[in-house]
């Protein structure tokens, strides 16, 4: 079947099998491999992308369901003026080790701070509780998301 998905701002029209998962479509057909697969039970969040601005687990969405939507993957986080604040904060606060969970974590973090630029420790932890990380113990991920939020708040206050 024909699906038309806007991924990171560019339109991708393709013919897919109805059963094709969005994550496979993004990785294999479109060729963006920053979105990862870590489980087969919708448990880990490594496959998280933003669909119309909301985080979804792309292993549990069919490509067909995403027809007509706008999808943002980790490759689309960076803007014309450089890295998204969440990206630089993950580096600054050592929010990643192996980096496998990182795209999902950053996208959830980005969507949280789009709504809340002063999230508490608990609010961040709740937001990322659908995303597993085996390396970091989450402490520095939480810190990075809060750092990014503070930087966003500061720049919007300043402007």
């Amino acid at each position: 079947m024909e699906v038309n998905i806007t991924i990171n701002g560019s339109e991708h029209a393709s013919d897919v099998e109805p059963r094709t998962l969005l994550v496979d479509h993004i990785r294999r057909t479109v060729g963006l491999t920053g979105t990862h697969v870590g489980c087969d039970t919708t448990s880990c969040g490594a496959c998280t992308v933003l669909m119309d601005g909301k985080p979804v687990k792309a292993c549990t969405v069919l490509a067909a369901q995403a027809d007509g939507s706008e999808v943002t993957t980790v490759e689309g986080l960076k803007g014309a003026d450089g890295l998204h604040p969440i990206q630089s904060a993950f580096t600054d606060d050592h929010g990643l080790q192996c980096g496998f969970c990182t795209p999902g974590m950053m996208l959830v973090g980005a969507s949280l701070i789009a709504e809340n630029t002063d999230p508490s420790d608990d609010e961040v932890r709740w937001a990322i509780s659908g995303n597993l990380c085996r390396c970091t113990g989450y402490i520095n991920i939480v810190k990075a998301i809060q750092t990014a939020a503070a930087r966003v708040a500061e720049s919007s206050n300043g402007s």
């Binding site: 963006l32 491999t33 950053m106 597993l132």
Partner: protein, 784 residues
Amino acid sequence: MVAPTTPAEIGGIGHSVQRKEDARLIEGQGNFLDDIDLPNTLHMAILRSPLAHARINGIDSEAATALDGVVAVVTGDLMDQHGLAWMPTLSGDTQAVLATDKVRYQGQEVAAVIATDPYIATDALELIEVDYEDLPPITTPQQSLEEGAALIRDEKEGQTDNLAYTWETGDKGATEEAFAQADRVVTLETHYPRSHPAPLETCGIVADVNSVTGQATIYMTSQAPHAHRTLFAMVAGLPEQNIRIVSPDIGGGFGNKVPIYPGYVVATAASLLIGQPVKWVESRTENLISTGFARDYYMKGELAVTDQGRILGLRVNMLSDQGAFYSDAQPTQFRAGLFHVVTGSYDFPAAHIDCKGAFTNKAPGGVAYRCSFRITEASYLIERLVQNAAYEVGIDPAEMRLRNFIQPEQFPYETATGFVYDSGDYPTALRQALDAAGYEELRAEQAAAREEGRLVGIGIAHFTEAVGAGPAHTYDIAGLKMIDSAELRVHPTGKAILKLGVKTQGQGHETTFAQIVAEETGIPATDIKVIHGDTDDTPYGLGTYASRSTPVGGAATAMVARKIADKARHIAAHLLEAAPEDIERTADKFHVAGSPDQAVSIQDAAFAAYTNLPEGMEYGLEDVTYYNPPNLTFPYGSYVVVVDVDPDTGVWKVRRMVALDDCGVRINPMIVEGQIHGGLTEGFAMSSMQWITFDDDGNCIGSNFMDYLIPTAWETPRFELLETVTPSPHHPIGAKGIGESATVGSPAAFVNAVVDALAHLGVRNIDMPVLPDRVWEAIDTATA
């Protein structure tokens, strides 16, 4: 913390330099195994046994083969025709690649489909008919060793029972004597349950064998690419120069990516036979049911103690559940890994350890899950025993430890089982951790809480690890000595490339190893590119596990950098027209002793190495070092956990977790802390929720992340980190390794805390995972 000796621009040891690997990973530009997409790649899916124990009477793959898009169906018989139906394990056993006779655990590899598309490969699995004849499954090692138990390894010559190995160490006579002198014997029987490393990225391979040139390029999630190259050469009979293993970005390893799995062998054979690249990436279920389980030790520890709380001796009987094949990845001469480090941080003269392992109808593995070969089990046992001994003798658990610690002046200290600990100051570490936790106040609060019917527990663990295997005289894997290497090339502009035998899986080698070179040569860490994981492009090494990267590969790096610095010093002498012995090195310059103005930079010296050399010196500035460590290193730490236990539900919450680690010199403190955070979380996971269990039919319960629980950010406690720094005297930069300490040390602290909350009721043990219902039951039984 030790102050860095280099300025921030150089970024040597002690600087929290930002990680070089982050740039690609935060932009989705990492190159993980599944991201590799070679032209004409075929995809493999594996048919696995639904039964734990059954005879295979036949496999009908006709319908599967006929499916559009299927290129081949591989069975054990086909593998057998090429002599590849069985493969050696890292413990000298053999393991089925694809089952030919029986299946011996649920999830065992039975057949493989190679197809043009991964969805089609999976579809075809459903079309394969296997005629199984049920056999009785054996699901515990105790059952397995009973008289008359069904023989699991009936194919193995000379095997008449289900015993996998026996191993004994220590001095039995001396230990018996110690027990005869004791005022009391404290006993603990506990099961360290089966767990799984479950890195977020599963295991996988892309095998690309060129049938014309014979070149085999094998992309693999490998923690030990060089060792794997040699093993591939030995197993598959391929000439080693034609095998290139490339271990790309790895999404966590934790021991899971050390063994060679059947899927790798099948994919490589299929690529060889078909002449196209073959890709296989495990699903999470495959990962959890078939690859790399860890632990599963049934331990009985007995401590001989005096009424004054002195430990006189230790006796351990251990029975391990090995699953269907004995495949622990461990040094050859140690059948239960380094479990004999079980004497822990204490000074006593006698110990005896008696181990045996049994085959069961469960997945094989026995990998060192974030651990230096069974040290996690050992550390857990001794720290639980010492805590219980304190209760029995009637002294405080902290005091019990202080009375028995090896004292700072006793190092190097030879333990009753033959390890020679390099350095440590245990009393200082424990006291600092206790002070930070407010131990005295906590004990007072605990007493008051008990009056009110509230349960507060304080758990301590003071662990000593033995990592960095290891000296060639004692340590090898499959005959390969556990040395490691580094090669350093400095280009004319003073920029450098460092090539390593070890391989990161998230630990940040590209950053920390550059920092070691920066420290030793003055070349800024940002100017040093680190290459690893590609066997065609790096010197030989045994790989990254057992916290050996820094102790062995890091030492090799320091030594090769010193060779380079020394050559540069000679070149500097030539440029400065001085004698080499009069040249001194500062962080970034060589200068004539006493006249700091007469100086050349390392960059000047590098340029001269290709342009202007002293008479008789060879051109270039590069070298390689193979490092054979003189000893293991012995990181340690003191952990204090405070929990609140709900007496009505058994639910426990970590109120505080204070973790003091001494890993010697810290190369990059930021990265060290990250390693500790991750390790503590895995320790918390094992003590609270993470386990792989089986029903009586041998069905794996814990085959996905709905059943095998990994803590999320919500459950994970907050940690407070402390440090002391006691350098390793024999390591070139005094570092000891940190990747595993927290996983090794923390489970005992968490469990001790919960048991401590109930100790006044007489509770002395709750097995991991310490689930609320187990806690509730312990309270209920104790108060009945």
